[in-house]
Symmetry: C2
Subunit: 215 residues, 2 copies
DNA sequence: TAGATTGTTAATCGATTAACAATC
DNA sequence: TAGATTGTTAATCGATTAACAATC
């Protein structure tokens, strides 16, 4: 009990480690579904493309999870990572922007599996307001702040057009939102009170485009 | 002329730099639309959340782009980055998986602006095959390899369900595809002949989830 | 026990930052 | 010219990797 509390308070992991934890988790779940019970850092390294040393280092940050001479128990590993990433805790989410991408996310099964509960879409298009997509209602932007407070929303996903995203983020800073997933090419920076994580599909393609020509 | 060829051959930029180039480009275009002509590394650093030293370092890798005492000419900067990232060159793209996300991408204007031309969706669902979304036809998987060759497709975007993505990638390795954007939570590694870039929305949310609790 | 693999420390590598001379 | 900001080198920082003693 005391130990657990202590770990909870102290476990500040570097960004790259946190990102890899999702990968380990995904891979562990696939293997468990195939009835695998154990895996060594070497086999993991072959599947994931990290070095085995890095994998052991990462896991060692979470505690002594492995068995020497044998490897890692996948069930223990999976549970530990889920605990660290707070996958077991329900997180209420809204999506701002009821366009193609926003609507597509309402049907994303992976989100439910990680306990991200989408409570509403927000948009300013009066043709969309009042509709539902996959049972998720579309609400007008003016209800944003109240909704976040009332429904205890912790994370907003921004899928509006690029030129609107700064404005939307501005609005969010005046609410109780704690985290923002920015799916827009516009740069948004974390603030004192809001964690921002940005994903840009065009950036991904640009990266590939570059590497196709210079490598 | 000689110099240009030389740079083209030699400009191997580290991954983090390539990723930031997309950010610089996006921001430069926004500023140009607002009729700004120049920007200093300091102002850039405030908008993008990088240090000014890093920005100057990054740009210096592309050549001597700035004017001492004055800053960077946004038009020159924009053109240079577009040239480096090969934005001016048309890249034929296919999307594998005509689900919510795949279809959403067919309407993504940003892709066209960077000259990524979506030529087809691929799926195995007979109800979808033959349909079009935003004028993009859905084709059966068995035509994949021929289509890639005939239409000179260089990049495939994978948006199939997680358990199918390894299989799809396996198929792609037997084609002429050069780059893969993996939008699936399943890990896929670059091979000798294929550049892979992976983006996982759930990973992004997991990251936020972690940082909300430990920071 | 012998063989295998972890956990961890120390070494390496690479990326970021600080600082400032050069110069517009 | 004086002021400002770049381009670049050297210092720092942090993340990855190598190596191996501990041990299952």
């Amino acid at each position: 009990m005391r130990k657990k509390t202590k770990i909870t308070k102290k476990l500040y992991l570097p960004d790259p480690v946190v990102e890899r934890l999702s990968r380990y988790l995904q891979c562990s779940e696939v293997l468990l579904n195939k009835s695998r019970a154990y895996i060594t850092s070497i086999e993991f390294s072959q599947t994931l493309g990290f070095t085995d040393a890095q994998i052991r280092k990462d896991f060692s940050l979470l505690g002594r999870l492995g068995t020497k001479g044998k490897g890692y128990d996948l069930k223990i590993l999976k549970n530990k990572i889920k605990e660290v990433l707070k996958v077991y805790i329900k997180k209420q989410v809204i999506i701002i922007g009821a366009g193609n991408l926003g609507v597509a996310l309402t049907g994303h099964k992976q989100l439910i599996q990680h306990n991200f509960i989408i409570k509403a879409l927000f948009d300013n298009d009066s043709k969309k307001i009042g509709k539902t997509f996959n049972n998720i209602p579309v609400k007008p932007m003016k209800e944003l702040s109240d909704f976040i407070k009332k429904e205890d929303i912790s994370i907003a996903i921004i899928t509006v057009p690029p030129d609107a995203s700064r404005r939307v983020f501005e609005m969010l800073t005046k609410t109780d939102i704690k985290g923002v997933l920015n799916l827009t090419p516009t740069t948004i920076n974390s603030t004192e009170s809001i964690i921002v994580y940005s994903i840009d599909i065009t950036q991904g393609l640009d990266f590939i485009s570059y590497r196709l020509f210079y490598r």
